[in-house]
Symmetry: C2
Subunit: 391 residues, 2 copies
């Protein structure tokens, strides 16, 4: 047995009193982040994936960066400017905030994203595979902001719809549609913004790796009855909480009764189940499972990113699913499989393997060295899209 | 002569030491703002147009709301929660921020907008005429996010393009185009977001008050040479300052050589000067004046919102302008005319009247009780759009 020394106990005691501070050797090759606001120098990221922030707060007692559920102290200089950095973060996109004397606030120098049930700071850690979602001089589709009236909710709703390159010029062509859902505490801005859906698709299509299709990105949380004439940027009724009641059923009604008919009316779609896919991340994956199992004639391609699995038993219990389905795609970040989240059923790789053995077109993908976070979901879309609508 | 009493001097002395505090009687009918984040209660606005904010900052020495270039103190309760409000603000949209122990930060509970050269908090003060930019159950156009390659700047650029209701279904119809520019310290998000361009046009078209046309909202500041493969959200070269050098000429080259050809290629436009308009606010208005005077064959309709005038002399000095021009529209907020900003030439109402007397189709509009701010520009668009492309 390892001997516990007085010294190690003292160290633990001291650490217990301290906020986390990055006393570790820090590699001094910080560069301004791609998610820093135009004209600003900080936040910066170094080759280890540390995030360094800076803010002037002359009268503050303490300032911290709060990222990955850990707070790191900043240090004040003689001009009242605070600077400090986090431990190394995973490749890809992360939400974060600053803590100034107990107030949790966005970093005034970052771009803002919706997640964790709030608009706030996000940071991009350059990834070894970032080329697949880079902005390139290739033909680009368009992401369109669309307002429509929802009978189910008796209100105006709001979504983003990606149309692929060529949609504007090939005016007789009709396209399949993927309905792509965000996670809990996120909204319809997630996939087009931090998900980089448009750029991922533009690059895949330019390389001939995916067929062009339409992608509808709507709000899967926003399904409560609302007064008329609220914009998507406006607030819900007082007392509404997340997750909403009946999150799967509520969104299912909206999707089946309002969104799909609106899309098939307003866009040049191939309006049948064979040319319709649904996918989602986390809560959106759980919604995808519930909705596609309940409507096997409406969707033929299914993607569940960090949101559970579809089992052989699920398929056996759902008449029509096996006959109509063309694809089941299950994915996770590798760190999720290492520290498996509860409530997702059995081992997802084994479940997917069994589904494949039962004769379904089932695929399993693991995003290397990422957790329950956007880099896992960008990669999942990148792997999923080429498998869609292949016949 | 009025006698200066000891008491009034004391009052002045005390005020000199204080930050502004709203000791005035405050009407307690605050409601959560339409620009408050989903699920949050503050910021709120009352019937006087005061903005009340609230934030938890248990360790802070002071917290202020900073709006309209004035800082107002918040008061801390026993739980470390700070609350306070501003003086009454003009109807419409305003940028603001919080000051926590000397740190200027966004309010974590507001939606975010780009202006004053930063992404940060904005607040909507309900206006007596807000119906013209309300979200209604009428046919809606789409605002599309478009990436394109710019030869002039040797980089990918980014803009928003509004297509009117019916554009998706009337596939043989071609449309006129308005190029609509933001102000200094703003970007291409200004008109589609806080400008509410899409909703203003949808409502005008639904009421039969305006002809449908396309609106291109691009970035008039972002005209420097940039490395390839930066997104619009990414930062400029280090040391770049605003305003950019050659702001008018730089954007003119980009507009004439890259943007207009891209739009005429990618959208179903009526691609001649007679069916092309340019308008802008503040810096965008100055760019509009410079660019339309330099290219009288390219644009026939001109709108300058809070950005100066076009004089009879300007027209006389520009061969071809009078013959091709169909409309000159000049507007200001009433408070701008009361406290006229320097550099905008003579009295704008008189100049416009002279232009009209000289035989031009010139219009002058004053937005009541607003300053150099978005409510003036929303109203200007609402007045300008019905005058466009009438023959």
């Amino acid at each position: 047995m390892k001997k516990i020394t007085f010294y190690s106990l003292m160290t633990l005691a001291v650490l217990g009193f301290m906020s986390v501070n990055s006393y570790a050797q820090v590699v001094e090759d910080f560069k301004t982040s791609s998610t820093t606001q135009t004209g600003k120098e900080y936040p910066m990221v170094n080759s280890e994936g540390r995030v360094r922030v800076q803010i002037s707060a002359p009268e503050a007692k303490f300032v911290q960066i709060d990222i990955g559920a850990v707070k790191y102290d900043l240090v004040q200089d003689e001009n009242g400017v605070w600077t400090g950095e986090s431990a190394p973060q995973d490749e890809g996109f992360h939400y974060y905030q600053l803590n100034i004397d107990g107030a949790s606030v966005p970093d005034p120098a970052s771009l803002y994203y919706y997640g964790a049930s709030r608009w706030g700071s996000g940071i991009e850690i350059p990834a070894h595979d970032q080329d697949f979602y880079a902005l390139k001089n290739v033909p680009h589709g368009q992401v369109r902001e669309v307002y429509y009236y929802s009978e189910t909710n008796n209100t105006m709703r709001h979504c983003f719809i990606y149309t692929p390159p060529g949609y504007e010029t090939n005016l007789t062509q009709r396209y399949p549609v993927l309905y792509l859902q965000h996670g809990g505490g996120e909204n319809e801005y997630g996939w087009p913004s931090q998900g980089r859906t448009g750029l991922i698709m533009d690059n895949l299509i330019a390389e001939g790796k995916a067929n062009p299709f339409i992608i509808v990105m709507d709000n899967g949380s926003w399904t409560m009855e609302r007064p008329r004439q609220r914009t998507a940027q406006e607030r819900p009724a007082p007392g509404e909480s997340w997750p909403p009641r009946n999150w799967a059923e509520g969104f299912m009604n909206t999707l089946i009764k309002d969104i799909i008919p609106m899309v098939d009316k307003s866009f040049r779609t191939l309006a049948d189940g064979r040319h319709r896919a649904m996918a989602g991340l986390s809560m959106g994956g759980m919604q995808t499972k519930a909705i596609t199992l309940a409507n096997p004639d409406v969707f033929s391609h299914v993607g569940i990113f960090s949101g559970g699995t579809i089992t052989v038993e699920d398929v056996q219990n759902t008449p029509g699913f096996r006959d109509n389905n063309k694809l089941v795609f299950i994915s996770f970040g590798s760190r999720e499989l290492e520290n498996r989240r509860p409530g997702f059923g059995g081992d997802p790789r084994e479940e997917t393997e069994k589904l494949k053995e039962s004769g379904m077109n089932a695929h399993f993908y693991v995003s290397p060295d990422t957790a329950h976070e956007w880099q896992s979901w960008r990669r999942s879309l990148y792997q999923f899209a080429p498998l869609l609508f292949k016949d």
